[in-house]
Subunit: 328 residues, 2 copies
């Protein structure tokens, strides 16, 4: 099965059709510190430090064919991020699951992008701003119909990737990338750099030329049948974890270690992974056609299709019951 | 004149009294993408990338005795930050000045903290997210009554500072610190680290142990009558610039260069500078009492008092005309 065939399954299967929802939720649904609203009316206080100081952590889980994928893994990673940033989720994992499920139902989305965050909240009065316990942390969430960060056409032919020359990724010694966070300026500007260079996406290295991550995604390369991905300087992506499991399943040797950018330029195949895009094949890096042949590599295609086939079989899925209304 | 005397001038002078304002602006006033509101009702859309991806730049100017200080310098720095981050302020410098002035009048604040930002705005539809021109950038601002980040008592006795052991500052190769931005997690967590160590504020080094900046402030040290401050890895603070000018005025030799943390530990005096705090003397660094004597150093005190004396004489000030209503 080629990637294009996999796309056809995705586009035509009635299991993906959006279920009933009120028109006001057409753009999505949101939850703001205790209240459910439609996304168009979702706002956060201007003086929330999650805004003015990116003082927050967040996570994103996807829903496909009405199933959350690895929800428990995302919830655990989120709690871990809260701990790393000395934030406290005001809701338990069970309550968080209820909120996210309600939002998916409100949006009527069987294919959904589900985002939630805990922010530091407002600056406490007086000098207590250096005490994390003086803050009342706040919870926000939204759900929008799923849009691939790499669209069908791009995934079918492979992404043209730029290694950023202008930016390195924020190092773990400054901000821990394993705690998913709002610190995106290096990533964003590297995307604009890619655009200027007529590329479609970017990847960032650390100060020593070792690969870290791409905007919103992890990077993998394949050389002589062996799968490589960086062990540090990046988010511990859930799709990354899934990919490593799938590679094991099909018998690929795996190296999770420091990976130099030169290895990427000499790779046979490469791809990005992301909750917002699944497995996204890379066609070229800078001006190098990987493996000397345009299009997604063979092993990449195999992993891509296995990922979606297993997901659509309900693997590690949590069903959303759309037949009952959201409990809001 | 000691720092305590300077504080008494500040606290008792009727020139600092808040002028008439509607009670709804008691917490401050705000401007959201074209609309004036009170701060309690000021909110930004949840899906503005300024929130979810810290994709924004900002600036802060202070008002004292009804005068903006170096407003033109702040406006210029802000425009420069927009350029560095490929953001476009939808308002000219003249329009920005009008908005900020209206907010100060609405808040009735003769001592004010004036904040404004331009965010990336919403994610554009389709794949155009890598093109900065596809975004409609948004302008937000707020004004609150001025609160010193270092209060009178702290400034009179000097701050107990911690050199962060757990975090380095985000390096310029990742996010340019001369473009004032929302990337604060390293700074915030270093403050919590300081709190745990029973200190009051923190300062961060780069990966090689050279001083960068403190949360929201620049760092200076004095050794044998010579003034030192880092030349890179930090915001080019307006109070920093002012301090360098004042030091020149009183004949102090100035070294703007790489400054190692060891130099701070061996300094005779040190202080922080910030729009939100002016010149803030340091008492101890880690457990070292600077100059072997508790309290603000002599030259630091001289600079502190000169700073406020000149400001209150209207130096580089732009008067706010509170006798006419805000044009909103």
């Amino acid at each position: 099965m080629s990637i294009i065939q996999a796309q056809h399954i995705m586009l035509n299967d009635p299991a993906h059709v959006r279920v009933a929802y009120e028109p006001k939720y057409s753009h999505g649904s949101a939850f703001i510190n205790g209240t459910y609203v439609d996304l168009d009316n979702a706002a956060i206080p201007m003086s929330d430090l999650g805004f003015t100081q990116a003082d927050a952590c967040y996570d994103v889980v996807s829903v496909s064919k009405g199933y959350f994928f690895r929800l428990e893994d995302h919830l655990e990673r989120f709690e871990s991020a809260c701990t790393k940033f000395q934030l406290t989720n005001p809701y338990t994992k069970k309550q968080t699951t209820e909120i996210l499920t309600n939002l998916v139902k409100q949006a009527g989305a069987k294919e959904a992008y589900v985002w939630w965050a805990v922010t530091r909240g407002f600056m406490p009065d007086g000098g207590d701003r250096i005490n994390p316990n003086a803050y009342e942390n706040r919870f926000y969430a939204f759900v929008v119909p799923y849009v691939f960060i790499s669209n069908d056409e791009q995934r079918a032919r492979g992404i043209d990737l730029l290694v950023s020359k202008q930016f390195i990724r924020i190092p773990p010694e400054a901000v821990d990338p394993t705690a998913k966070n709002f610190h995106w300026m290096d990533l964003k500007l590297s995307l604009f750099e890619a655009n200027t260079a007529n590329k479609e996406w970017s990847v960032l290295c650390d100060a020593s030329g070792y690969l870290t991550e791409a905007p919103g995604s992890n990077i993998f390369l394949i050389k002589d049948g062996v799968l490589y991905t960086p062990d540090s300087g990046c988010l511990e992506g859930i799709t990354r974890k899934t990919t490593l499991e799938l590679a094991k399943e099909i018998g690929m040797p795996i190296h999770v270690e420091r990976v130099h950018v030169e290895q990427l330029l000499n790779a046979d195949e490469a791809f990005l992974t992301s909750t917002a895009g699944g497995i996204m094949p890379i066609n070229t890096v800078d001006d190098t056609v990987l493996g000397g042949k345009a299009g997604p590599g063979e092993l990449t295609t195999q992993l891509h299709n296995l990922y979606w086939t297993k997901r659509w079989d309900g693997w590690l899925g949590t069903a959303v019951d759309y037949s009952t209304p959201a409990n809001v």
